[in-house]
């Protein structure tokens, strides 16, 4: 066994842990793609930008609280309250932008064949990305509270000698922040599941996804349902944006491009239009990416690996892992 491979094996458990966290973030974004695709049959290219705007809004909210002296360093509000407030603000901003995007760029051309909404969506993605660049500047934005000092305190160490003597020594470090991210992501996903399957609006959503005309005839307000879909997807993306900004402690105006591509790949991998599929796809892709970058020299190639996964999936498995509803598109 070569030394490279030994090192790879010893880092593998940590890579799996990181991959799960990364994958849960991808899954949150992927849900927005998959829900919109399920209802409108189009890829909302601007979704990655909505996620990026969420990360900016989260930073703005935290900075506002600490500028007003309410939270952050030494204010009266506790850290948890500050984070919840910032996430709520990010969801508000991203949700309203998601709503507006649909009204401006997609609703007027809803009946058109696939090329027009697609070009409109790409235009919207470029517009939003550069809108943020012009409005907020071209530099990296730091998260205003240095959370790494506060949340890394709890480190969970898991040794792996139990796997047998041929497996090299290694350990897994899961920070409290990782656990929080996982908990928040899965909490939101469960919330979405309940919303889609147990509420009246969720039922209307599924009805519109199945047959728009019929749902309209039965008195469902299709415009409203589509708006709700966009807003829900945007809210999940905003949550992902805030979570990742806390983890990386910074954001950037092009953050939505690669993350959006990855999330889209996850959605396709799981079977586009399929909500559990998006979660599964996100986890698989996150794992693939982190395991690749663990291999020595692999981090240069991790984006390539993800694209190869996307291409292979579209070509050989166009229905995805769990998908059912692709039909004539692929």
């Amino acid at each position: 066994m070569s030394e490279d491979f030994q090192a790879f094996l010893s880092n593998l458990p940590q890579a799996i842990a990181n991959g799960l966290v990364r994958g849960s973030i991808y899954a949150l974004i992927a849900l927005g793609y998959t829900m919109v695709y399920g209802i409108l049959g189009m890829i909302n290219f601007a979704h990655g930008e909505i996620y990026m705007i969420g990360s900016y809004a989260g930073i703005i909210a935290v900075a506002a609280l600490s500028t007003l002296g309410l939270g952050g360093m030494g204010g009266p509000l506790s850290l948890a309250v500050v984070l919840v407030l910032s996430m709520a603000f990010a969801m508000l901003v991203s949700g309203s932008i998601g709503f507006t995007v649909e009204r401006i760029a997609y609703r007027p051309i809803r009946g058109a064949p696939v090329l027009s909404p697609l070009i409109s969506a790409i235009g919207m993605s470029i517009f939003l990305m550069h809108f943020v660049m012009v409005a907020q500047g071209k530099d990296y934005k730091q998260f205003p509270i240095p959370l790494h000092d506060k949340l890394v305190v709890t480190v969970i160490k898991i040794g792996t000698p139990s796997l047998g003597s041929w497996w090299p020594e290694g350990s897994v470090e899961l920070t409290l922040l990782d656990l929080l991210t996982l908990a928040a992501a899965f909490g939101l996903m469960v919330g979405l599941y309940v919303f889609v399957n147990k509420t009246k609006l969720g039922t209307a959503m599924r009805a519109v996804a199945q047959d728009k005309t019929m749902a309209g005839l039965l008195g469902i307000d299709i415009d409203k349902v589509i708006s709700v879909t966009f807003v829900t997807g945007a809210i999940l993306a905003a949550a992902a944006g805030v979570l990742i900004t806390i983890r990386l402690s910074q954001t950037f105006y092009t953050a939505g491009y690669i993350a959006g591509m990855m999330a889209f790949t996850s959605a396709v991998l799981g079977g586009i239009g399929n909500i559990p599929g998006a979660v599964l796809g996100g986890l698989v892709l996150g794992l693939a990416e982190d395991i690749t970058s663990t291999y020595p020299g692999g981090s240069d190639w991790k984006v390539v690996v993800s694209f190869v996964v996307l291409l292979a999936c579209l070509m050989f498995l166009p229905r995805g892992l769990l998908g059912e509803r692709v039909g004539e598109r692929a």
Binding site: S96, R103, S120, M129, H130, Q136, Q142, L310
Partner: protein
């Protein structure tokens, strides 16, 4: 009365949307993160500079809005007169361009003038030489981008296959030239670079096209985008061959040959301009001929309805592959021209922005129209150049404008500037949603080219 009502409703609707946009964008527009000298973390502040800037711009904004409203009123008031004047102009134009050679000459004339201009002044002062050089540079890039736009128009416009990663083909052409021009590989020049670029880009076209044959619409767009991105990372990571992030420069000996055209410093640029103009002319004439041939008709049929085209006996897989390969070859040749003009290639010059710029050119001019692609290239490259060189503080707004153009065109004029009414109908999907009056179907079938 009812028309007025309609206008008022539409104005209200537009005003509501504008208000929504202003409201929604306000947190990002008016709040900014800033850092005082001794602090380590950003604080939030109101963006006073932007507010005062807007206040200063307010008279201009009002002026533009007022002019727009006046224009709208004028147009709606004199609709009939304008339409009949337009008809007369169109008739005259048709008379003037009665035969095909005359029509071609008319279309080519402004372009030939544009290209010939740098050759006109034979002896100039240093300063004006510089400005002519600058101008020549712009014209060279316009010809390169026009070639790219016409090439992309083959897949996007004529065959209806949305290719998002077009810059990949452009990149591989530029790199094939730069790689064989390196000293350790014998400093080969254009003689070897052109065939190599054709082979390389055509191969890449096949590689992208073959697996994409089963895909349509948005999936196809993503696969081509994925290929483009992957190629960029591969080129960046293969440092031994491509110089990685640093790029490759082309040594003088391998640069395009200089024609002895004039005695001053413009010589090399003018030779490149001759080369790119020949390339563009070749591209236009070939593409126009193919569009009118059996192949072009097959593409049109596939664009309209692939299933029906297959049923009519069109081998759609073959024709789609052909579209991919042809379009890739033009991009590869444009890449060679780019490398010859700039003398340096790096992955930074072929990012996603580049694909978007070329796509916007095709969309703006009118998908499927060669003249449209060229018009789009002239307009958008000029926009890019003006924003970069003349108003450099507004360079950042370039992509903002491109994105807005794409959205507005798709909502209000999907056929682009030069597109036909038929294309508009196709892109708006009116046939599907509202059946036209009884006489219309026969007419539209008769009018189909």
């Amino acid at each position: 009365m009812s028309a007025d009502r309609g206008i008022r409703d539409r104005a209200l609707h537009a005003a509501r949307l504008v208000l929504l946009v202003l409201l929604v964008s306000s947190p990002l527009v008016w709040l900014k993160l800033e850092r005082a000298g001794d602090e380590t973390r950003d604080r939030l502040a109101f963006n006073w500079e932007r507010a005062s800037g807007l206040l200063h711009a307010l008279p201009w904004i009002l002026l533009v809005l007022g002019a727009g409203a006046a224009l709208g009123f004028f147009l709606s008031r004199f609709k009939g007169a304008i339409a009949s004047a337009g008809d007369r102009v169109r008739q005259e134009a048709r008379k003037l361009a009665a035969t095909r050679p005359r029509r071609a000459a008319l279309v080519a004339l402004p372009f030939v003038l544009l290209v010939l201009f740098p050759f006109l002044p034979p002896h100039l002062s240093k300063e004006s030489q510089l400005s002519v050089q600058n101008y020549t540079n712009v014209v060279v890039f316009i010809t390169i981008y026009a070639t790219l736009a016409v090439g992309l128009n083959i897949t996007v416009g004529q065959a209806g296959l949305l290719v998002l990663g077009y810059a990949a083909f452009y990149e591989i052409g530029a790199y094939s030239y730069a790689i064989i021009a390196q000293p350790e590989r014998g400093e080969h020049g254009l003689v070897l670079a052109i065939p190599l670029a054709i082979v390389a880009s055509a191969t890449l076209g096949l590689v992208v096209g073959l697996p994409s044959l089963r895909l349509r619409g948005d999936y196809l767009a993503l696969v081509t985008l994925g290929f483009g991105e992957t190629l960029r990372y591969v080129i960046r990571n293969l440092e031994d061959l491509t110089g990685g992030e640093m790029g490759l420069s082309i040594p003088d000996r391998a640069k395009p040959p200089t024609l002895m055209l004039s005695s001053y410093a413009l010589d090399r640029q003018l030779s490149v301009l001759v080369g790119t103009s020949i390339l563009l002319a070749l591209c236009i004439s070939t593409t126009a001929r193919i569009q009118r041939s059996r192949v072009g008709r097959a593409w049109l049929a596939i664009r309209e309805d692939e299933l029906a085209a297959n049923c009519m006996g069109i081998a759609s897989r073959y024709y789609k592959l052909l579209a991919f390969v042809l379009s890739a070859i033009w991009a590869g040749l444009a890449g060679v021209a780019y490398a010859g003009q700039v003398g340096f290639v790096s992955p930074k010059s072929f990012e996603f922005d580049e694909s978007i710029l070329i796509l916007s050119m095709v969309v703006l001019g009118g998908m499927g129209r060669i003249g449209g692609a060229i018009l789009g290239a002239v307009l958008l490259y000029t926009l890019k150049w003006v924003l970069q060189d003349k108003f450099s503080e507004y360079t950042d707004y370039k992509n903002l404008v491109l994105g807005a153009i794409m959205i507005l065109l798709m909502v209000f004029r999907p056929q682009g500037l030069l597109g036909s009414a038929q294309l508009a109908q196709e892109l708006k999907g009116e046939e599907a949603s509202a059946p036209p009056p009884a006489a219309a179907p026969a007419l539209s079938q008769g009018a189909a080219p």
